[in-house]
């Protein structure tokens, strides 16, 4: 038994390496900190809205909205979901069209302070598309970006986040995976080498 486990470990070692960067306790602390930073900047959220980017940014924006309401129950937080599939610049480069998700922004963004939310900031292309998509819903006063993970070494575009959960220096062959309590059973951030 022990031998076969060791054998499996050896077989998998060069191809697939996983390590946990953030466990669930740290995860909650990060969400808490991000929420407090938002309140510090946006005070009573009178003119501010949060917009999660589909599909993975929604998990984070839901969590942030929920935590903000716990911290300050009186806040009225407008929360939208934005799908960027039709705005991507790599449409057709993957050989098949990408399937879209729901967009739900039931309010105008005119003169609002928008906080865009996504899970991982990597090349910056998703956020570029999200900015384009967002402008079809009005002309915001300003736009900020909140991400859980910032892979700062691989940007293709001059895009930076205003609120960052964790900065990660990784190489291109590595992948950052975010697990969510709601869908994967546990909050966790992994780094996977493929």
């Amino acid at each position: 038994m022990a031998y076969s486990l060791f054998y499996l470990y050896l077989c998998n070692f060069p191809t697939m390496q996983k390590r946990v960067l953030i466990d669930s306790a740290q995860f909650l602390l990060i969400i808490d900190r991000l929420c407090h930073q938002l309140i510090e900047h946006h005070k009573n959220f009178e003119n501010s809205v949060i917009i999660g980017v589909q599909p993975r940014g929604i998990m984070l924006s839901n969590r942030i909205a929920e935590r903000l309401r716990e911290i300050a129950p009186k806040l009225n937080i407008l929360h939208g979901k934005l799908d960027i599939t039709f705005y991507r610049d790599d449409f057709r480069m993957k050989g098949k069209p990408m399937t879209a998700n729901e967009t739900d922004i039931p309010f105008s963004l005119d003169d609002k302070q928008v906080i865009l939310i996504d899970d991982v900031l990597y090349t910056g292309r998703t956020i570029r598309s999200a900015l384009d998509a967002m402008l079809d819903f009005g002309r915001p006063k300003d736009v900020e970006l909140l991400v859980l993970v910032d892979r700062r070494l691989h940007r293709h575009l001059p895009i930076e986040a205003n609120y960052v959960g964790k900065v990660i220096d990784s190489i291109t062959t590595e992948k950052v995976k975010v697990n969510w309590k709601e869908t994967d059973g546990k909050d966790k951030i992994w780094i996977v080498n493929e």
Partner: protein, 307 residues
């Protein structure tokens, strides 16, 4: 995440059930886009589409054009009247000349059945059939299916009735395979001269009595009498047709059921459908037109992923 199984959209009968479902799901997203203050997305901004209408059309043509513009594609329009087709140019020559100007996709309507199929074998561009003769009109079939889906939540087990000139109808040609693939039951109703001979072999039943047929169905799609496609007399007169197969308020009130009425347009008011039915709450006609743009956007978007 998967794409369509086909490179062209020529007929519903070529599509898998999963293709139809994917088109419906994508259309739902585009319908949301059409509700926005800015109803336009940049997905197809590097694509040029030629709309080749060798036969007259209002709805389909405007709907396709709008769908293309909402997706930011470049479009060129062609209609047979006023073109070199009148001087005797062949279909293949006309299309090849247009393609020489670097066109990626072709939307074509033609009075000959099989014209898009023929073209797809000879040219490299992708082809979307916007109605070919008496064969199929796949985007109409899709938008009919989508409109019913929106109304009822599911097509499975639904009783779908098509009334009128089934023989010359490309709408019936697309609606029948679509509804059957999605699990609905299909019945046709109309004068026996306008019913194809082997219709039962498609898995469709025939009912000559309009009232009985209406009592059976949840949705009735009323087709137009297409005098332009009839080379001989199939019905004694429009008046007699209207008497036996026209859908009117008195008839709908006499059956104990609230059925949904559809029509692919253009309506001959007072012939196959009366105004008080066409403009009532029971009618899905304007929703069909609205959904047409979203469905065509979905088809163009999904096919463009394979350019």
């Amino acid at each position: 995440m998967s794409g369509l199984s086909q490179r062209h959209l020529i007929a519903i009968k070529d599509l898998e059930k999963s293709d139809i479902q994917l088109i419906f799901d994508t259309a739902k997203n585009f319908k949301e886009v059409l509700q926005r203050p800015i109803k336009k997305v940049p997905s197809l901004r590097d694509i040029t589409i030629a709309n080749l209408f060798f036969e007259d059309s209002t709805r389909t043509r405007i709907s396709f054009e709008l769908a293309e513009k909402r997706l930011s594609a470049d479009t060129i329009n062609f209609s047979a009247s006023g073109s070199s087709v009148k001087k005797g140019e062949t279909l293949l020559d006309t299309v090849n000349n247009i393609l020489a100007m670097k066109v990626d996709m072709v939307v074509m309507r033609h009075s000959s059945s099989g014209a898009p199929q023929f073209l797809s074998k000879h040219i490299p561009a992708q082809i979307i059939n916007a109605g070919d003769g008496t064969h199929e009109h796949p985007t109409q079939g899709l938008l009919d299916g989508y409109s019913v889906l929106e109304q009822f939540g599911s097509l499975k087990g639904l009783n779908y009735l098509i009334i009128g000139d089934i023989k010359h109808s490309r709408v019936a040609g697309s609606d029948i395979p679509l509804m059957l693939k999605m699990g609905a039951k299909v019945k046709v109703c109309g004068p026996p001269t306008l019913i194809p001979k082997y219709i039962e072999e498609l898995g469709v039943s025939y009912e000559p009595n309009l009232k009985k047929a209406l009592e059976w169905c949840d949705v009735a799609n009323v087709l137009r009498i297409q005098l332009e496609r009839m080379d001989t007399k199939f019905i004694p007169s429009l008046r007699e047709y209207s008497l036996y197969y026209g859908v009117n308020r008195a008839l709908l009130d006499s059956i104990n059921k609230n059925i949904t009425i559809m029509h692919p347009g253009p309506i001959n008011r007072g012939v196959e459908l009366d105004s008080d039915v066409a403009d009532s709450k029971q009618s899905l006609i304007l929703q069909q037109v609205e959904n047409g743009v979203a469905i065509r956007m979905a088809v163009l978007y999904l096919l463009a992923g394979r350019v």
